[in-house]
């Protein structure tokens, strides 16, 4: 489960100009009452557009997120870990299918989404543009990146769009073993040899900055998304999500005797908020715009997979196949 740190475009002040005010009021009242919006219901164009963008990014993050972990399947330490990691990676790819389906009910075809991913037009979670040097990096993802994603996902599952919530419910249920598996892996490294402990400490040092980026830019600098919060598209501010993650996982990391590489990290007992070194948002922007250590490789691997699978798709394609938008 990898949704998180979605990038939203700034919303123009006239974005709702063409909408019928009566229908808009009814739509907002429905969301206020906690009802779900279904594909055939009236919705503002902006709602449709932002939801497609968000669900699509989430789907792409599952697909691309499978790559840095998938790297270690062939070299997983032992048969048991290999089985678990394969099952986890298979789940992530399956989650992408569920998410693409939810986005499709809004009118964008899966093929168009895949094209936009390969052509670099769509974004995905920035953290997967970093490399997994050792098994410990892979364990960091399985435990802590998944944990961060779960914080976001549980919030999003309470959103307003029916098909997305249903996909997330299913994803969360399937997800139950991922986090436990990741923690299990890290406990074994922590309780292992000095070398194993060192391996995880080094992975933690490498992954902490992207992990802090994971929840998206600080509220101080991120684009205004009040209307998306009101419509229950975005369910919490980036800083709130980050804070919740730190609350839950900093103690667990420290319990294992590892050092989080941020001397300023501490919880302010008065405000209940975590204080930390401001993440480097310039690096975040640079990487999300394509200049990270693995952006090219990630997209190239996808593109080659698409290319090499072409003959299978063409052989299977029924001449009369006609695409209609799926139902729910």
């Amino acid at each position: 489960m990898y949704g998180g740190g979605n990038t939203f475009e700034g919303i123009k002040p006239d974005a709702l100009a063409g909408e019928d005010p009566i229908k808009l009021a009814e739509f907002e009242a429905k969301i206020d009452r906690g009802e779900k919006i279904e594909p055939t219901d009236w919705m503002p164009q902006l709602y449709r557009k932002q939801l497609i963008r968000m669900i699509e990014q989430h789907g792409h993050s599952e697909i691309i997120g499978a790559l840095p972990e998938g790297t270690w399947i062939t070299r997983a330490p032992g048969f048991k870990r290999k089985m678990s990691l394969m099952a986890k990676v298979q789940d992530e790819v399956g989650h992408a299918q569920l998410l693409y389906s939810a986005a499709e009910t809004l009118g964008k075809s899966r093929e168009q989404m895949i094209d936009d991913l390969i052509n670099g037009k769509s974004k995905y979670s920035n953290i997967f543009n970093y490399p997994t040097f050792t098994w410990a990096d892979c364990c960091f993802i399985s435990w802590l990146v998944d944990a961060g994603a779960i914080v976001n996902q549980l919030a999003n599952a309470k959103g307003s769009y029916g098909p997305y919530c249903r996909a997330l419910d299913r994803i969360c249920a399937e997800e139950s073993f991922h986090l436990k598996y990741g923690h299990h892996c890290v406990i074994y490294l922590a309780a292992g040899t000095l070398k194993q402990r060192q391996m995880f400490q080094e992975a933690l040092n490498r992954w902490w900055p992207p992990m802090m980026h994971f929840f998206g830019p600080s509220d101080k600098i991120s684009v205004h998304t009040e209307v998306l919060m009101k419509w229950k598209v975005k369910m919490g501010s980036n800083d709130d999500m980050r804070n919740q993650f730190l609350d839950m996982y900093v103690p667990k990391i420290k319990e294992l005797g590892f050092t989080i590489p941020d001397p300023k990290l501490k919880k302010n007992t008065d405000t209940g908020r975590w204080e930390y070194t401001e993440p480097d948002w310039e690096e975040f922007k640079r990487v999300i715009n394509g200049d990270g250590p693995c952006n090219k490789e990630r997209l190239e691997v996808r593109r080659i997979a698409e290319e090499r699978g072409k003959w299978v798709r063409e052989a299977l394609r029924a001449p009369k196949a006609q695409y209609v938008t799926p139902l729910a």
Partner: protein, 207 residues
């Protein structure tokens, strides 16, 4: 996108990809999209089939295979079935206290009669569930007959009708996948008990 001749990846499998062979081929052409199929799952004996989502597939047999993998890989079920999205006849969606059956009127009977499966959406935000079958000469007639025999007391927000013959059901030999699922403990959170190891570790540190 910049093409590069060597991936220089940390992943040996990526380094083995035949980049040269595919790097200069044409950009991905628009394919005709595979159609979508709606997937229904029966979780337990005695429970109704419930709509779960879709798969993309070139035909209904492949749709069945992919549905099994996508929707029943992790949790056991009794049975699943699939149908082409275009085979699902859909009533108007209602809200508030409007019952979807209020919009269903007698459109006249036609021949030949065949069997239709009927589904209700009983709560907005949830999924359609199977409520029974009727015999009718058209989808509209099926909904009209369902109004008489299946409408029930509860409010219905949406009705689906699918011709029984358009559904790919589960056969006995299809059930193999589910028979071995409970053995696959590595997909179960309970298989990852790290508590004892963690406790022993913490005790050794605090000595």
């Amino acid at each position: 996108m910049t093409l590069f001749t060597s991936m220089n990846s940390l992943d040996p499998r990526v380094n083995r990809l035949p980049i040269d062979k595919v790097a200069n081929s044409s950009p991905k052409a628009a394919l005709d999209q595979f159609g979508t199929f709606e997937v229904f799952v029966q979780a337990k004996e005695g429970k109704p089939f419930q709509h779960e989502g879709i798969v993309h597939a070139p035909n209904i047999e492949m749709a069945y295979v992919l549905a099994k993998e996508t929707f029943t890989r992790r949790f056991t079920c009794i049975s699943i079935y699939v149908t082409d999205t275009r085979s699902v006849h859909v009533s108007a969606m209602t809200e508030g206290t409007n019952n979807a059956y209020e919009n269903i009127n007698d459109s006249g009977a036609s021949e030949p009669k065949t069997s239709y499966e009927i589904y209700h959406l009983l709560k907005r935000g949830k999924q359609h569930i199977h409520v029974g079958s009727v015999t009718a000469g058209s989808p509209d007639e099926a909904m009209w007959r369902a109004k008489a025999s299946l409408a029930g007391e509860k409010q219905v927000f949406n009705i689906w009708a699918i011709r029984t013959d358009d559904i790919r059901f589960t056969t006995t030999e299809d059930k193999d996948l589910w028979l071995t699922l409970p053995e696959k403990k590595f997909r179960d959170a309970s298989d990852y008990k790290g508590g004892d190891k963690l406790k022993a570790f913490l005790e050794s540190v605090n000595k």
